[in-house]
Amino acid sequence: MLTDLFLTLCISTALTAVQAENRCSVDAKNGYKVRLSIKTALGNKAYPWDDSEMFLFRATLAFAMRVYTKSDQYNVSSVHVCDETPRVSFWFVVSNDTELVSAEDVEKAVRISRNRINSAFMLTDQTLEFVNIPPTLVAPVQPGTPPWLIVFGVVISAVCAGVVMLLLSSFVQKRRKKGILEDENEEERCEKQNGATHEVQEGSDDFNQIFVEASSSTKL
């Protein structure tokens, strides 16, 4: 009796497994095609694609399903892969015990954990491509102040400082010139009074030299 039960259980799981296996095919309704471009992404450091890498992929996808559904019903065996090509592309479906998980759920799960899936293989959204799942675009980092405003601030402060300095320097220069001119004007005014005033030239003898010179030229 027990062995009969055991046998039927075995056969039914095998059958469902085979069924699930059979449901993975090219253009499967709830499946997605994956393309990897390892050589493009990594160049010389490219690793060869083999069964262990495939195992990692299935494990990563099971991880993504666990994170999305917040349950632990998914295992490596839940992910079925078929139609592998030398391109390194293949189709996969995810099964939940007996049923296939719907395409929308798979898509959401992949989008949430996309970054983790990419990092597991050292690839990017473009080199690990899930056909028909749009990539999550990373918005560029926006700093608080746009950097161009900072540069602008530096330049405009330098310009204002330069203008103020130049205006001040020319103002000071004009004042100085006016000061010298005023002194000269005063001297001129002195000469124009009374007509006969001479500038007092003081010599070492401490008396007015002009009269001394004048007396030497007069024929007295």
Binding site: I38, T40, T85, R87, W148, V155, S170
Partner: protein, 632 residues
């Protein structure tokens, strides 16, 4: 018409120096003067117009009409302007008024053109500053398209064109779909414009005293950057393709008359003739200065700079074309790899052709279904651009692909800024010097405040170029103000000096200044060849303009063929403004002549009616030469 000026050189010396007790400012040394003239002549056009013309008109073959135009049109006019300014020692209005009062309008025309050109030229500098400010980020903002707020896709306008185009048309200009929609003032352009005018003001604050010092940097720095770019560009892949494309001569193109017309106009505008700026600069020279050698130096350096600048530009354009070509091929390779599930990187750029042939044989239908793009290096090389398109679209795209993009972007935009700044000095001096000489500046305002007021007025007027439709208006100003009026002014200049002032008197003046009379080359050009060339160029230019209906290229995201630009005709009111802009600077020439003629008639009539035997006809205020003043 009789000239009302005595031919005595001694009197003319006085004319320049007796100015109400103040000595005329002068250059600190000859180098300053030469650098200022070279800086004025060498401008943005040398970098972004000449290489384009070279490319479009058959590469190396274009140098022939270009050099012919330089020898027969550029150098004679240049020598003429420098000589006449140095001899008569006043700005453009004073110079032409001295030659004949009927020609005072020529100087006014120069002044108006200089002012209008200065308005839009500084707007280009404001754009350069904006790109310069934005070059200090990683990554450069014109590398990636901005993302929509829900993070699923890029902004549609950017996706349909390119990130570089989007950054220029949307984030910089915020351009409207056509010229009739004005849009609002773009605040970021307004502050960049204020900065540009501030920098211009600092250099221009005391006229040639401060300009002379600024040009040590602004005139020499571009050459340094061009050399750095040359070395860098020659090491980039694809540089040789670009250079081959540029310099391979296509001789048949010389049969097209349009090539000769464009060569003549290019040399004319490139040397910044007829702006009055060169006359202003040379008027601050001592009279005994070899202006012939100066003219040769400035003219040859200007042309040499054009040729020298086109080498790195085209090396970089070749690099960009090669990059685009490889991107195109890689796109095709990816399609083939994905469709036929071939191993990654099995198809490379080298074996692409053999793979394609092989696949075409085995699966022709599938290959056809892929709609592979036809990638041709020649098509990418043919994508030429001139003007702002070259600097802000093509070059910025090339810079992204170079390692260390920020450094190259910063260097490039500083170079453009100093090229433009030194040309701005000439434009502003072309306005300031005549105003100072004509004593239109009240004595109580110091020069610093007056130049500040000039900059402020220009800034306010130039705000129209910061509106949404600003770029369309700038193209109008560029096309209508900066072209036809200059040809007219130059024609009047050369005929005035040769036929009204007199070739003999002019030759004597040059002998006084340089020590020998001008030789046959100069005489032949001044008397016959250059005026004839100018006339032919002017007529051809008008004919070419009149043939086509004036249209402009608009950036309209809703256009059916977007990202191609939509070609729209100018509305009537805009076209009326175009005609006004082209004719307004030229109007003073006939108006002033008419006004002077009316005054002359009036005096003659009065003289006939009240003829008095005791009247001393030898003395009348007009013939006094020591005060050069316009009787307005």
């Amino acid at each position: 018409m009789s000239t009302e000026k005595s031919g005595d050189p001694a009197d003319m010396t006085k004319a320049g120096e007796v100015k109400a007790g103040e000595e005329r400012p002068k250059w600190d040394n000859k180098i300053q003067y030469l650098l200022t003239c070279i800086g004025f002549a060498v401008g943005l056009g040398n970098v972004w117009r000449f290489p384009y013309l070279c490319q479009v008109y058959g590469g190396g073959a274009f140098l022939i009409p270009y050099l012919i135009a330089l020898v027969f049109e550029g150098l004679p006019l240049l020598h003429l302007e420098l000589a006449i300014g140095q001899r008569l020692r006043t700005g453009s209005i004073g110079v032409w008024y001295s030659i004949s009062p009927y020609l005072g309008g020529v100087g006014m025309a120069s002044m108006i053109v200089s002012f209008l050109v200065g308005l839009f030229y500084n707007t280009i500098l404001a754009w350069v500053l904006w790109y310069f400010f934005n070059s200090f980020q990683d990554p450069l903002p014109w590398r990636d398209c901005p993302v929509l707020s829900n993070h699923t896709a890029y902004v549609k306008e950017c996706e349909m064109s390119t990130p570089v185009n989007y950054f220029w048309y949307r984030e910089t200009l915020n351009i409207t779909p056509d010229i009739e929609t004005s849009g609002s003032l773009q605040w970021w352009l307004v502050i960049c414009m204020a900065t540009a005018w501030g920098i211009v003001y600092i250099c221009f604050i005391r006229g040639i005293e401060t300009i002379g010092k600024a040009v040590y940097i602004t005139a020499t720095f571009p050459y340094l950057v061009l050399t750095i770019f040359l070395i860098r560009a020659l090491t980039l892949p694809g540089a040789t393709a670009g250079l081959q494309y540029l310099f391979t001569p296509q001789w048949e193109i010389l049969k097209n008359p349009k090539v000769w017309l464009d060569a003549a106009t290019q040399i004319f505008f490139s040397l910044s003739l007829a702006f009055g700026g060169l006359i202003a600069f040379s008027s601050y020279n001592p009279q005994k200065n070899n202006c012939e050698r100066d003219a040769l130096i400035v003219g040859c350096v200007n042309s040499a700079t054009s040729i020298y600048a086109s080498i790195p530009i085209f090396a970089i354009l070749g690099f960009k074309a090669k990059s685009n070509f490889e991107d195109c091929l890689n796109g095709n390779i990816l399609s083939l790899t994905n469709a036929f599930n071939i191993g990654d990187q099995n198809i490379t750029l080298e074996n692409y052709d053999s793979w394609l042939a092989h696949l075409n044989e085995s699966h022709p239908v599938q290959v056809a279904d892929l709609h592979l793009k036809v990638c041709n290096l020649q098509t990418f090389l043919d994508q030429s651009a001139s003007g702002t398109g070259l600097a802000f679209i093509v070059f910025t795209e090339a810079v992204i692909k170079m390692p260390g993009s920020q450094v190259w972007a910063v260097l490039f935009f500083i170079m453009l800024f100093s090229l433009g700044l030194s040309s701005m000095f000439g434009n502003l001096e072309g306005v300031l010097t005549p105003l100072l000489d004509m004593k239109m500046v009240p004595r109580c305002i110091p020069k610093e405040i007056f130049t500040g007021m000039m900059c402020m007025v220009s800034f306010v007027l130039a705000l129209i170029f910061t509106m949404g439709s600003g770029n369309y208006w700038l193209e109008i100003f560029n096309g209508y103000v900066g072209s036809l009026p200059l040809l007219i002014i130059a024609f009047f200049e050369i005929t005035a000096v040769v036929y009204i002032y007199g070739m003999n008197k002019f030759s004597e003046d040059i002998e006084y200044m340089t020590g020998r009379r001008p030789n046959l080359y100069w005489q032949a050009n001044w008397r016959v060849i250059s005026p004839l060339m100018l006339l032919v160029v002017f007529v051809a230019y008008v004919v070419v303009q009149a043939e086509q209906q004036p249209t402009y290229a608009a950036w309209n995201p809703n256009y059916v063929d977007f990202p191609l630009e939509q070609v729209l005709p100018y509305p009537k009111w805009v076209f009326a403004i175009c005609v006004l802009l082209a004719s307004m600077p030229c109007l003073p020439i006939p108006l002033v002549a008419l006004y002077k003629f009316i005054l002359f008639l009036k005096k003659w009539l009065m003289g006939r009616l009240h003829s008095n035997p005791y009247d001393n006809e030898g003395y009348s205020p007009d013939t006094q030469i020591s005060v050069v003043k316009m009787e307005i």
